[in-house]
């Protein structure tokens, strides 16, 4: 049933190791079989990560602005630009000036050289606090702070693309991406917003980020393995990937009035959190899955954002197989890498492209995913945070 305040996806900006932009990902989603994805195995050995593809930053960001950012912000600004372009709104100054924005953000890059210099010097000294003052005041680059600030990805999107209706930055790992989509969805549904830019970016090629997740030995080591085939014999199972993923969400009224292409309709989105012991995770995932009740498994494809953490991935898949019996399940992080804040928006982007293209999405892990018999009319997107937070979205093909 169509409604004026349906929330529809009209723009997709996506960058992963599979390539830059929509076409590379349509190709992935409609391929007969997927090849082993690009892996950077050397730079951060023993950790394999999915690297950025080659990017011509200047296609979205002028040189002067590029210099004000590091790769994390650049990637977000770049992917946001792709989404605006794709929605046909990039040159529409009025639309951008009234466009709402929610960015799911972590933090920007540390200056590894400066950090190394300080800790190396500190190993030789007893007055570490004094040393810290000396070094920080002389070695830190003033602009680096701005490249690190979480809300400056959004700030740079405002500067570069003139998106200025509102600017909000959500944080909190995967949950940030879930809440960003959930919030934008409810605002449009309630008429508080007519069009919103939502998404995030994550850079996996960062030793400072790997260090964080290694606090719980979450990252896989050694050879790349398909998502559901990973084991605790090689690290924790998560393989991070550099990803930028932005969506333009619009009310159906607005989208149809301007004749925009509608990739998909968002029927529902919800996030939750809590203790995961003793079946509580399963119970919550089942409850969230109920937002998709009534869907026929055969008409449905599930894009799981499982991080790869072995135990969590197994538990999530068991629930999905029960709740969406008959549906094809695709663990997309296996071919893009896990993208933390950007994971949920990435899942929505892939789901929308597959519904729009009526794709027979190939198995991303052939031994653990079954082929699709026919294109899906509905897609379920999940993200289970590697430490906390869960989210589910339900999308349908535009009728």
């Amino acid at each position: 049933m169509k409604s004026d305040n349906d929330v529809v996806i009209t723009g997709i900006g996506i960058v992963t190791c599979q390539g830059v932009g929509k076409e590379a990902h349509v190709a992935l989603l409609s391929a007969a079989a997927v090849a082993k994805p690009a892996i950077e195995a050397e730079r951060f050995a023993p950790y394999p990560v999915h690297p950025l593809p080659e990017i011509d930053w200047s296609a979205q960001i002028v040189k002067r602005d590029q210099r004000q950012m590091e790769n994390w912000q650049r990637l977000g600004v770049f992917a946001a630009g792709l989404a605006l372009d794709d929605a046909g709104l990039k040159e529409d100054a009025e639309a951008c000036a009234s466009m709402d924005m929610i960015v799911a953000a972590g933090g920007g890059e540390r200056d590894i050289k400066v950090d190394s210099l300080i800790v190396d010097e500190a190993l030789k000294r007893n007055d570490r606090d004094i040393l810290l003052n000396e070094k920080l005041t002389t070695e830190l680059r003033p602009t680096l702070f701005l490249a690190q600030l979480s809300n400056l990805m959004a700030g740079n999107i405002s500067i570069v693309h003139k998106v200025t209706g509102s600017s909000r930055t959500f944080m909190g790992e995967e949950a940030a991406g879930i809440s960003a989509v959930e919030t934008a969805y409810h605002r449009i549904k309630a008429g508080q917003s007519s069009h919103s830019l939502v998404g995030g970016a994550f850079i996996a090629e960062r030793a400072d980020i790997l260090l964080l997740v290694e606090g719980i030995r979450a990252h896989a080591t050694g050879e790349w393995q398909p998502l559901w085939s990973r084991s605790n014999d090689n690290g924790g199972g998560m393989i991070t990937g550099s990803v930028g993923a932005f969506l333009v969400l619009e009310s159906r009224t607005r989208a149809e009035a301007r004749g925009a292409h509608i990739y998909a309709v968002i029927d529902a989105v919800e996030g939750d959190r809590g203790n995961r012991d003793e079946g509580k995770l399963e119970k919550r995932l089942s409850r969230l899955s109920a937002t998709a009740s009534g869907l026929n498994g055969e008409d449905t494809v599930v894009f799981s954002g499982a991080s790869g953490l072995v135990d969590l991935a197994t538990r999530e898949k068991t629930v999905l197989e029960k709740e969406f019996a008959g549906a094809a399940i695709r663990g997309f992080g296996g071919v893009t890498g896990h993208a933390l804040e950007a994971q949920f928006p990435l899942g929505l982007a892939l789901a929308a492209l597959s519904l729009d293209g009526q794709s027979l999405v190939p198995a991303f892990d052939e031994t653990n995913e079954k082929p699709m018999a026919k294109p899906a009319d509905h897609a379920v997107v999940t993200t289970v945070g590697y430490t906390r937070g869960e989210g589910v979205a339900v999308l349908s093909k535009n009728a």
């Binding site: 953000a105 979480s150 606090g215």
Partner: protein, 428 residues
């Protein structure tokens, strides 16, 4: 919902504040804060948390009187928010599970330097220049450290608050820089207006003052270097103002639809009547010289509140004491309020508590409501050398009686963030 006592000019649910809690460098709790704030007391002091040798700024409004199990930004920010939330819920008369969503403004976090040093101590020796993180990773593989991870997860503060107070769903943790507190309130109000919930818990907290945070702001020339005496450094709207004073604090507001608040017999402390926002694309740290986005933000808040300029009786200014903000904020207010501006009292709490960054918008919203409830306008202290280009009634140095029925509170931040709130005492 058909009862128009409970809806605003657009038929949306009116949103009440039924509980408030606050911590600043002036103390813990609304009562202590309010008496200090109205007596013109400054909470700014010499930094003792870390040595300040060689630093150009050596003062701050840190909160050092709340016990924390580890000296890091997450533990402090959580502890402050926990305390202000307890206070707010008690005032609201709520116990047990809160059963509504949580919107939390919290600072971005990174590992503390003492944790990096500790990691370096247990790491293998350097093999090449710039290889600290490779060594850290080797050490971490040998002995993982979940506490280290938890102290740098952006979601770990809201996680604990959600468990402790029984909020519903996935909490939102947000940062819109110095506008964060106002944005958190905005999200809470929006959720109630959407009809998704009758109540929302809004907290904003910042315990992130560390040497690196201080140096970073110093390198941007944002901080006052008038270290002596510390309590005189923050002087919003003064001619010799030279930057803000970095500070910590937290505030919690319990938001409820007026209908649900009255139904359970709660006291309505004030109404969040209107909210406005507009991003600025001029520069990463500077506002558009013409104040366009700030003007649009204030106007949007008034429009959302269904009010014109004449309704505002007091302004809780952002007033950071940086040369640029105060000038821009004045210009924007002048553009909106015109000739009336010089007759609207507009004071800056930051003259006493410094800039509580992530928490500021919510801390100042609490003080705005308290201003209306008590009929007392808090002063702008250290106002001895007025900026002649800023013709404002800043409530100089000494509190004053006043009965504003509606208050405007502004928040502007790095990254083009602007948010304004209009609060009223009564629903109409």
């Amino acid at each position: 919902m058909s009862d128009n006592r409970f809806t605003d000019h657009l038929g949306r649910p009116l949103v009440a504040v039924t509980g408030m809690g606050v911590i600043t460098s002036l103390g813990q709790g609304l009562s202590d804060n309010w008496s200090a704030l109205t007596s013109g007391t400054s909470g700014i002091h010499k930094i003792t948390r870390f040595p300040t040798d060689g630093l150009s700024t050596r003062i701050s409004g840190t909160v050092d009187f709340i016990a924390v199990p580890a000296n890091n930004s997450v533990e402090r920010s959580f502890a402050f928010a926990r305390e202000t939330t307890k206070e707010a819920l008690a005032q609201a008369g709520l116990s047990g599970d809160f059963d509504g969503p949580l919107f939390l403004a919290a600072p971005p976090v990174e590992p503390e330097w003492h944790d990096r040093f500790a990691l370096a101590d247990r790491s293998p020796p350097s093999k090449a220049e710039g290889d600290a993180y490779e060594r850290f990773l080797t050490a971490m593989r040998e002995r993982p450290d979940p506490v280290f991870l938890e102290a740098v997860q952006f979601g770990s503060i809201s996680e604990r608050l959600a468990d402790m107070f029984g909020t519903r769903g996935l909490p939102v943790t947000l940062s819109t820089a110095c506008a964060s507190g106002a944005t958190a309130i905005q999200l809470g109000v929006e959720a109630i207006r959407q009809g998704r919930t009758d109540r929302a818990l809004v907290a904003a907290t910042d315990g992130s003052v560390s040497v690196e945070a201080l140096v970073r702001f110093s390198l941007l020339s944002a901080l006052s270097t008038q270290n002596d005496p510390p309590e005189k450094a923050s002087k919003p709207f003064s001619k010799d103002r030279d930057g803000f004073v970095i500070a910590e604090g937290a505030a919690t507001l319990v938001l409820e639809s007026v209908e649900s608040a009255l139904a359970r017999g709660a006291t309505v402390l004030g109404i969040i009547k209107g909210l406005g926002e507009k991003a600025d694309h001029f520069h990463r740290t500077r506002s558009s010289p013409d104040g366009g986005p700030a003007i649009a933000t204030i106007r949007a808040a008034l429009e959302d509140a269904g009010m014109d300029e004449s309704g505002i009786g007091y302004i809780n200014a952002h007033g950071t004491s940086t040369p640029e903000n105060d000038k821009m904020e004045y210009g924007s207010m002048l553009a909106v309020f015109g000739d009336r501006m010089k007759n609207i009292p507009a004071s800056s709490n930051k003259s006493m508590i410094g800039h509580t960054l992530t928490a500021a918008g919510a801390v100042e919203a609490v003080f705005s409501i308290q201003t209306m409830l008590t009929g007392t306008l808090p002063p702008t202290i250290n106002y001895t050398n007025p900026d002649p280009t800023i013709e404002l009634d800043v409530v100089p140095n000494v509190k004053r009686d006043g009965q504003p029925k509606a208050v405007l509170s502004n928040s502007f931040g790095f990254g083009g963030q602007n948010a304004s709130l209009v609060m009223t005492l009564e629903p109409v």
